[in-house]
């Protein structure tokens, strides 16, 4: 039986496809730098043809934000502090959302990305239920843009249809372009070639993106920081988004559910 090979320390899950793997894209979020300014949210909106989140949509709880700023309050004795944590699809190695899809509309590709196949999706919404990070978004309505905005749609990104699921792709279109350009120049990808929209837009440089398999890439170095932790570690989803805890006399030690 395959389960017989379960390791006794599964916090780092077995790599399902080590042979074919060339990259393992990873993002590092330094919470000490994040100011919750939402620039990343806007940049993502513009880059990925995300439908407009009007007031009505907000009131329906049907916002689509591939990256969002989670706001929560930390109470320390008398004073209450606002805390921000940018949350996006964690591109989990053991993504709970993948196996539950009946039609293989989402699966794990060799670059460690959790990809969504729009035209396979029938919209059972099971993946959204099974995503602990609330990182999957459903097109309840047919997305429409005012005619003035139609020309700003990104030609590299599919415009989704109603009734299907979507989520952060780590700007896979930019990854592909970087790879193409590298190939044309006959060189291999270097660290910093791939810059997702949110990373590009972050004014405080709180977000960094790269290939964790490259030992001297920026994310590899940051991931070794002692502040590094992953969200909801106890679920064993193996996220590829690594957070660096806030440096703060009040900040709790990096452990699970530091939302209180």
């Amino acid at each position: 039986m395959s389960e017989a090979r379960v390791p006794s320390q599964p916090a780092t899950p077995p790599d399902p496809q080590p042979a074919r793997r060339r990259h393992k894209w990873t993002m590092v979020v330094d919470l000490d730098r994040c100011t919750g300014c939402q620039a990343c949210v806007v940049a993502c909106q513009a880059e990925n043809n995300i439908p407009l989140n009007t007031e009505a949509i907000y009131l329906q709880y049907r916002v689509i934000e591939w990256i969002r700023i989670e706001r929560y309050w930390e109470k320390h004795g008398e004073e209450v502090r606002a805390r921000y944590i940018p949350l996006l699809c964690q591109q989990c190695d053991n993504a709970p959302c993948e196996p539950v899809c009946p039609v293989y509309a989402t699966y794990h590709n060799v670059e460690g990305l959790n990809v969504q196949v729009y035209n396979r999706c029938v919209g059972t919404r099971y993946c959204a239920n099974n995503c602990p990070y609330h990182a999957r978004f459903f097109n309840f309505w047919q997305p429409v843009w005012p005619s003035t905005l139609e020309n700003q749609l990104n030609p590299d990104v599919t415009v989704r249809w109603r009734g299907i699921m979507e989520k952060c792709t780590f700007c896979i279109q930019r990854i592909r372009r970087a790879q193409r350009e590298a190939a044309q120049e006959g060189r291999s990808l270097q660290d910093g070639d791939v810059v997702p929209a949110c990373v590009q837009a972050c004014p405080t440089d709180a977000l960094s993106f790269g290939d964790i398999l490259d030992p001297n890439s920026r994310v590899s170095r940051l991931a070794k920081d002692k502040r590094a932790y992953t969200v909801l570690k106890e679920l064993g989803t193996g996220p590829n988004v690594i957070y660096l805890a806030k440096v703060d006399p009040y900040a709790p030690a990096p452990k699970k559910h530091d939302h209180h």
Binding site: S2, E3, P14, P16, Q17, E98, P99, C101, H108
Partner: protein
């Protein structure tokens, strides 16, 4: 009429039973037609053995193998990794294989029931509506003219209210 035979109709089970016993003594093979099930051998008839239990087993085997092929094949045909689970995940296969096995068993059982009770039967043959409508009991003997005469007499002796020849 396809078959040559005589059908004696009885209003009471007792009469039919005694007639059956008499026929048995006379060494005549006969069949009982009733509108509702009676305990086995109630009319002294003997029912040939059946092979119904073979059918579900065969069906289960077929269903099992088909399900195994389908589940294993579809996982391997397009090896997509989901959730870090092995490409050939046994537990989900077990579930669907279970369903397939049971489906095969059920289908074959139904076929077996029809086959063993010799249905569907194109022609009704010697029969009488009152068997189901009035709860009469029919005793049917198939055979040659020479045999049918005495049989008919036996049936009448034991109180057959009506005799049908075919």
């Amino acid at each position: 009429m396809a078959e040559r035979g005589v059908l004696g109709l009885f209003t009471s089970a007792e009469a039919a039973a005694s007639a059956g016993a008499a026929l048995r003594e006379a060494g005549v093979e006969f069949e009982v037609l009733t509108g509702s099930p009676y305990p086995e051998g109630a009319f002294g008839e003997h029912t040939p053995p059946h092979r119904l239990y073979v059918f579900p087993l065969v069906g289960a085997l077929c269903g099992f193998s088909v399900a195994i092929l389908l589940t294993a094949g579809t996982q391997l045909a397009y090896p997509l990794v989901t959730g870090g689970k092995p490409v050939l995940s046994i537990p989900p296969m077990a579930i669907i294989t279970y369903e397939g096995t049971m489906l095969g068993a059920i289908l074959f059982t139904v076929l077996g029931v029809l086959f063993e009770s010799r249905l569907p039967r194109p022609l009704l043959g010697l029969y009488d509506k009152r068997i189901t409508l009035e709860g009469w009991i029919g005793i049917l003997v198939r055979g040659e003219e020479g045999l049918l005469g005495p049989v008919e007499r036996i049936l009448r002796e034991h109180g057959a209210v009506e005799i049908k020849r075919g």
